[in-house]
């Protein structure tokens, strides 16, 4: 045991209450007082949101890369395959039957050397939250949502993913009932890797389809957020 005194430097924290923080609390408290939801409802939803992140989806992909039988299951029954990485689409959300925004039908889209999938929600920002966590800001923007379905190759290039013309790109449009995640192809240079090592390179962006896994790349690149030119049309 060292006789040096412990030097615990507290983590920095924001030492002021912003108007936004006060607004969030005020909105929540008034909603509870008016019966729009209960304090208990909110607590359950908050706990649920806290549990969400991209790791289960990354593990699903890594596991599938290592186990052909599991890969078959993932592609044919994403909800069942999710159970093996700790995600119960039906019972985990506080409602007990999925949520209005996280319906219980997950499809895992398998890339091949000649086929690349990418996910969008043209209508709003539907996202496979139970297995992938909160959507990034750019995924929510009308700019991404509109342009990806029109010019997928160009939009992917803006993300730094330049695909040769002979690779087909398939865009999956999420909706209220079906959510998608991408199973990218396993990259070269990962031979002999463990599931844990493989999962580390399956980033959120790889699972949406705007990036592909690369040995050594474990984080999402910072993405620019563009405004849409004609942002307010909802032509459905």
């Amino acid at each position: 045991m060292s006789d040096k005194p412990h030097e615990h430097k507290p983590a920095p924290m924001v030492d002021e209450v912003s108007d936004f923080e006060a607004l969030e609390i005020a909105v929540r408290e008034l909603a509870i007082e008016k019966g729009l939801f209960s304090a208990e409802d909110h607590r359950r939803w908050t706990e649920y949101v806290h549990t969400l992140g991209p790791l289960p989806a990354a593990r699903l992909v890594a596991k599938a890369w290592l186990d052909p039988e599991y890969k078959k299951l993932a592609v044919t029954d994403g909800v069942k395959a999710s159970l093996e990485v700790g995600v119960d689409w039906i019972n985990s959300p506080p409602t007990g039957f999925g949520t209005p925004s996280d319906y219980c039908n997950l499809r895992v889209l398998e890339d091949t050397p000649k086929l690349k999938h990418v996910v969008v929600c043209t209508l709003c920002s539907c996202y496979p939250r139970p297995i992938l966590g909160q959507s990034p800001e750019w995924y929510r923007t009308p700019n991404y949502r509109r342009r990806l379905v029109r010019w997928p190759r160009q939009v992917l290039a803006e993300f730094g993913l330049q695909l040769p013309p002979d690779i087909e790109i398939r865009v999956a449009d999420s909706n209220q009932k079906t959510r998608y995640m991408v199973m990218p192809t396993r990259p070269a240079g990962t031979e002999g890797w463990s599931e844990e090592q493989l999962a580390e390179i399956v980033t959120r962006d790889c699972l949406i389809g705007v990036a592909v896994p690369k040995p050594g790349v474990k984080a999402n690149a910072k993405r620019p957020v563009h405004p849409a030119v004609h942002p307010v049309h909802h032509d459905h």
């Binding site: 209450v17 108007d19 909110h42 939803w45 908050t46 949101v49 506080p94 209005p100 405004p227 307010v232």
Partner: protein, 129 residues
């Protein structure tokens, strides 16, 4: 494109999903509220999201899932409109919060005055010691 130009263009097309008339309380917050990016930089905090973001997500879930006071799709469409107009200069997720408050006030789910009073109480409560 500024908010007024966007409003005018959309009004001609009659496509508003939400009343884009500015709400004074929210305008004040938009103009003077300190966003997380600035606070984090000042205090040396590395968390990319404000701590209240999770609560905001849960509030949005609660509003659509429980009594269905504000359905998800309507809220998101209104957030899109407001994000492209009134709150275009506000970063995310502050923009999402302003849009949610805007949608709730315009629907009569909360009143602007009571929201202002509650904010004042919250601020006093959190800074009382």
């Amino acid at each position: 494109m500024n908010a007024s130009t966007k409003n005018d263009t959309s009004a001609e097309n009659g496509e508003h999903r939400v009343d884009l008339t500015p709400i004074p309380l929210l305008e004040t917050i938009r103009a003077h509220g300190r966003v997380w990016g600035d606070l984090a930089a000042q205090y040396g905090v590395t968390n990319p999201d404000p701590p209240w973001k999770v609560n905001l997500e849960a509030t949005c879930d609660g509003l659509s899932a429980e009594a269905c006071a504000l359905p998800l799709l309507e809220r998101r469409q209104e957030e899109d409109e407001l994000s492209a107009s009134l709150y275009a200069d506000v970063p995310f997720p502050e923009r999402q919060l302003l849009a949610l408050a805007h949608s709730m006030i315009k629907r009569g789910l909360v009143d602007e005055g009571e929201l202002a009073r509650r904010m004042k109480q919250v601020h006093e409560r959190l800074t009382s010691v």
